[in-house]
């Protein structure tokens, strides 16, 4: 075996080990969701044929934890957050990247500074504000709050991409009489789908997984998926198998999204890496 081939085998083995390392917890999650509680608490876990069951999934779908409504709420909130973040973030990112805004750099830093406050610090003031606005336990309220930490990152991701676009394109549009808005809309956006996808997936996953604000700002009607999953853990008893089954079901939409849009996402990150 020559050195080149040996190197490729080494790289392949390394990557395989990395993939296995990454996937093992997910594999164990799926296995746990299919085992009876008694089998899960055995030491070592009892993997005999009698231990396997679909009962955890049946319980989750029929239980009071209401995973179905939570999935719907999470989908609406995450999609809403993503679309608004992309609409506002792309415009803001382009403006900060290309337009001569007085203090533009400071504004960009200020946008990022909002990320520096731990959520727990602002949660009670936020609760009071949302309460006064009548936005507690509403999907709109969650979207507004999620935008506060998703939008700054989206702006920065897209700002970096827009800065890397060759200015000649926009100059050519300007020569043809296009305004800044039309240049952005008709020239820049059509070539920006990959980074928009990448930023959108980031925004969606951030909103989908958020827990702290959802705990505080929801009550009855707008429990999100992470809240629904956490409800399988009580003080005295934890329904481990059902919790795992709920986690598997909750992961499916995000996994499906990643699979469907994987090419666009990869292209987005790759272009961002090269151009940024």
């Amino acid at each position: 075996m020559n050195r080149g081939r040996l190197g490729r085998v080494g790289v392949g083995a390394g990557l395989a080990a990395f993939v296995l390392w990454t996937l093992l917890p997910i594999l164990w999650l799926v296995i746990s969701s299919l085992l009876r509680t008694k089998a899960l608490t055995s030491r070592p876990p009892d993997l005999s044929a009698a231990s396997w069951t679909l009962g955890n999934y049946r319980e989750v779908l029929a239980s009071g934890q209401a995973l179905g409504p939570a999935l719907l709420t999470s989908a609406i909130v995450s999609l809403g957050t993503t679309l608004i973040a992309l609409a506002l973030g792309s415009a803001a990112g382009y403006a900060l990247a290309r337009l001569s805004i007085p203090g533009g750099d400071r504004i960009a830093l200020l946008v990022l500074a909002t990320q520096m406050f731990p959520g727990i610090v602002i949660v009670i003031p936020l609760f009071i504000v949302m309460s006064r606005l009548g936005l507690i336990d509403t999907r709109a309220g969650l979207i507004v709050v999620y935008l506060s930490f998703v939008l700054p990152v989206v702006i920065w991701i897209l700002k970096g991409f827009f800065e890397a676009i060759p200015p000649e394109l926009e100059k050519a549009a300007a020569v043809d009489g296009a305004s800044a808005w039309n240049t952005f809309r008709l020239v820049v956006l059509p070539i920006s789908w990959p980074p928009l996808f990448a930023a959108g997936v980031f925004a969606f996953i951030e909103a989908w997984n958020e827990f702290l604000f959802a705990v505080v700002l929801t009550r009855l009607h707008t429990k999100t998926v992470p809240i629904a999953i956490s409800e399988f853990a009580g003080q005295y008893q934890t329904k481990i198998g059902e919790m795992m089954a709920a986690a598997v079901l909750a992961s499916l939409p995000v996994v499906a999204l990643a699979i469907i849009f994987r090419k666009a996402i990869l292209r987005g990150f790759a272009e961002g890496a090269v151009k940024g």
């Binding site: 009876r36 509680t37 008694k38 608490t41 055995s42 030491r43 009071g64 934890q65 209401a66 609406i76 809403g80 949660v123 009670i124 609760f127 009071i128 309460s131 006064r132 606005l133 009548g134 936005l135 507690i136 336990d137 509403t138 999907r139 709109a140 979207i143 705990v215 505080v216 009550r219 009855l220 009607h221 956490s230 409800e231 399988f232 853990a233 009580g234 003080q235 005295y236 008893q237 934890t238």
Partner: protein, 438 residues
Amino acid sequence: MHRARTMLSVPTNRRSILKGAAGAAGLAALGRRAPVRGVSAATGLSVLSPLAPDPAPPGVAEFAIPEFDAWKAANDVDVTYEAVAWPQLHDKMATNFASGTHVHDIMYNCGWVPEFAQFLTPMDAYLPADLVADLPPSSFSTVGWDGKKLGVVFSLSLLTLFYNTEHLELAGLKEPPKTWDELKGYAKELTRDGRSGWVLNYGAPEGIGGVASYWMTFLQQAGGTMYGADGMPVFNDAPGIDALSLMVEMMTNGSTDPGSLSYVGINDATNVLTAGNASMMMNWPFMWKPANDPESSQIVGKLGSAILPAGPVTSASIDGTDAWTIAATSAAPEKAAELIGFYLSPEVQKKQWLDTGWLPIRLSVLEDAEVQAAAPNAAVVLEQAKLPYDSFVTPDYNEVTQALGTEIQKALGGAKTPEEALKDASDQVTEIVKKRLG
């Protein structure tokens, strides 16, 4: 679980109407109905409760549903439940109280009564004499503050000893341990064949059910107490050190499941016992049912229960304090008290045990033959209740147990001696108490 409506207090003025209109438009665009708003009125009661299988009322847990429906109809009361996972209860309540909005009429409390005392309605005037006479007098010790009854416990939840009868038999041990010396000896003897003699969750320092509260159990067994007459900590003494030394000795000699240091919740430790991987633990009465459920347990029919082994002075326990309280802001405290009275009625209390596994608190129900037959551990809990079971709850209980529990964990992990850990804990708790007492 019953679906329920949101009940919010919302001021109506021009600004709120404009905001409401904007919000409603946004919500309509999102394809979701606007939240139902209302004010806690005479016919509406909102209740904050844990989700089942933690201790929960009829309508959240599946028991006494026909009685609950009949009570609502007879009293013309509409009950709205917000049931959340137990770990979220305290923070949700604290946020509601701190913001002054979205406060429920009735809320579950567990050792937090002194902390939230200023937000709660004294219940002395609302509790019927026959109900009070049927409750263990000591059950009010953890739901009172400044001489007022601010809540009422609905489940007799004291720590007692649980053990695997088969393991004891195999080891030639005829009866459960009655003293600390026997406890240590049994735990060592039972540590064999990959099993541990003792298991508990020492992974969380704070709260009732945290490592600090377990140490308080041993502290009382050694004749010690947390606070002196002036309210200052006095636990850094011989009984305190004896209590911690016992825990440390059982950890370092290998008879405690080493995972105990990382088990955060009682359910983690319970799982070890019900899997047959440990022989003894102290636990709450709820354990009886899941440990005898073949779906989740491998020790069905092999669980024994006894009062906790006595230390140098006595056997003692702590109180889980599963209680109902009424908010000071409730618009209908009388109706709220009536609902709590329904939760504590003998028929509901009886079904609470038979259908959910949570012991009743009413003495007459605890002594009921059907309850006794279905709950062999009820008699043990009643016996334990005759002995000291102070949980030492104060407004700063969480802060105190966080500081104390962290030091206890250091001793259990071998980073400090029991003496060092208790001295450092005492210094920290003194500062916390001084801050409270001003």
